[in-house]
Assembly symmetry: C5
Homo-oligomer: 158 residues x 5
């Protein structure tokens, strides 16, 4: 596996240290991957955070980690943040794996915590694989893969 660099941008707004999950996952499974990190205030700052981090550190792929709050205005902010990330991807011509957790996704705080952990760890693997080029996710195409919860799985013809 080639050496490469993954940039992680996270927020002060999120209620869980998402980057810690990503870093732990990468260190365990991809010890040769270099990790750089940058923290911004909230989800709307993630897109520019990725651009700034990539300018400084020339990453091979990036992760944008954030939490979307539970009220209506937060949902709009999350949408704006996502569109900003689409713009940033076009600008950098690189993957930015968006890992968003919605505060109202969990049945309880502990359930929410486990969604944060599961989604971030799984996407850290995706980011590390894509950072190395080639077509590393080909074997999982159409498999109903999910991050944050159990895989939905494939639908097969009967």
């Amino acid at each position: 596996m080639k050496s490469c660099k993954v940039g992680i941008v996270d927020t002060m707004f999120a209620r869980v240290d998402m980057a810690a999950f990503a870093i732990d996952e990468l260190k365990r499974k991809f010890p040769q991957v270099k990790i750089v990190r940058y923290t911004v205030p909230g989800v709307k700052d993630l897109a520019i955070g990725c651009v700034i981090l990539d300018k400084r550190e020339k990453c091979d792929a990036l992760m944008a980690l954030g939490m979307v709050g539970g009220v209506a205005v937060d949902k709009t902010c999350g949408h704006e943040a996502s569109l900003g990330i689409q713009m940033a991807k076009m600008k950098l011509e690189k993957h930015i794996i968006e890992v968003f957790v919605h505060e109202d996704e969990g049945k309880s705080e502990q359930d929410l915590y486990s969604i944060f952990e599961n989604r971030t760890r799984k996407h850290a693997v995706n980011a590390a694989l894509l950072a190395q080029g080639g077509n590393p996710l080909a074997d999982f195409a159409g498999k109903g893969k999910r991050q944050g919860r159990k895989d939905a799985g494939s639908i097969n013809k009967k």
Copy 2:
């Protein structure tokens, strides 16, 4: 028919191997078309997936194949993904045929499966034709063509 290259980008999130339909259709009907493929995590990664694949492989046209989940946040993701694809088209100055299936479109899993197959196969033909330049779809203009279901057909003046 000229030789050309179609780039196919698909996802791990989809519950059906959409690219397999596209590849099978292209191989049968357009054996001279070269096919390249790249798999990304989900629909929001399709736009940048097309940009990255095209940078590597210089395609004549691309397909972006994805499934949009059934809950509200998935619909928003699908919308963001589509806008990202519009940005990618402007950047590449090439067709990216967007083939999105919504998980809640089918009456049953088998019905959903057939929508996946029908829509992807029909759009693979469109992509291959457009990849060759000229104005290959002119005969079908205004004919109420549909992918995934039966054609709606034309409305004629009475």
Copy 3:
């Protein structure tokens, strides 16, 4: 009237041959205008269709002709298509007259057909006039002009 070129991009999805109305109108009223045409699958392909046609044919103004289907997902597609067309205008620095008909606009199929014809013909005139430069629509400013239905007319101070 100066000679100029109008590019027409239309779709297979529409249930009426919108380009035929535009071409007929232009030929009758602006016989000196050169017309080029390109057909794409659906409304989301119109923006890139305009970019591709303009690259090939260097138009003075373009028309993007499409039908938006009647269900919720179609409305979202129409919105995405429109934003793509805004992007394409910025890129080309040219008018792209967007002529969208919503499938649920008509009271009947015949009413819908007449909206298609009326809106497309009127906008073809706008496109031809704008293609020639200057400020050709100045006399109609603030007049409540409508395409597809009767003019709303001006509101005057009493």
Copy 4:
């Protein structure tokens, strides 16, 4: 006060001659300001109208004057038009003062007419001031200024 040029783009769709208000206001209060005008079909054409007018006439600031119709599809058009104007501002690196009146804002036609006049005149002043550079609106910061209706005024700490 420096000499400068304000570009005014208006529409055939609007039911009031908005540009006439802007021109009258500018001529009275800013006789040294040069005015150029360009009329487009509807609100979605305003962004590209500004780009085209600025290319021809090199303006110091622009105004985009339009009416948004009262039905749901019109609201979406207004939103698309506004996003296009955001794109145009980024492209031109100039102010484009957006003056939109919604057809359903008025209690009566005469009330609507007065909103058209009030909003357009007030924004014409803003455009003329901004066109001259510096920071001409600093004295009004946080004052709850409104165009089209009475100022909301400031909230003060008690």
Copy 5:
């Protein structure tokens, strides 16, 4: 702490002098930071205001301060303004800390006033820190930080 420049763009529409809070906070806590300010009409003018101010003054980071009105059309304007700000960040490759207060957020005018003050002061600190480069917010990552109200705090695993 390095010397740097923060650009502040605010509006006439807001009902509180937001920039005054930001300037006071910066002068007290970051006396070495240079401050430049520019006032625009409303939230939709903030993005271009940032671009224009940065062109004149070469800022290290910017703040976009605005109030979103309480009726439906205002919400849409706020959304358009936010997307414009995402575009501006991509263009400038700099942080623009968006500080938006919604007129309907407060339980009373005084509550609203305190949200204005709290949110603007806290974000002024973020802007000043980010303006100096490095990764100054790392210690607050995932801490559930809020501006305008009390911090939500972290969720910990039990």
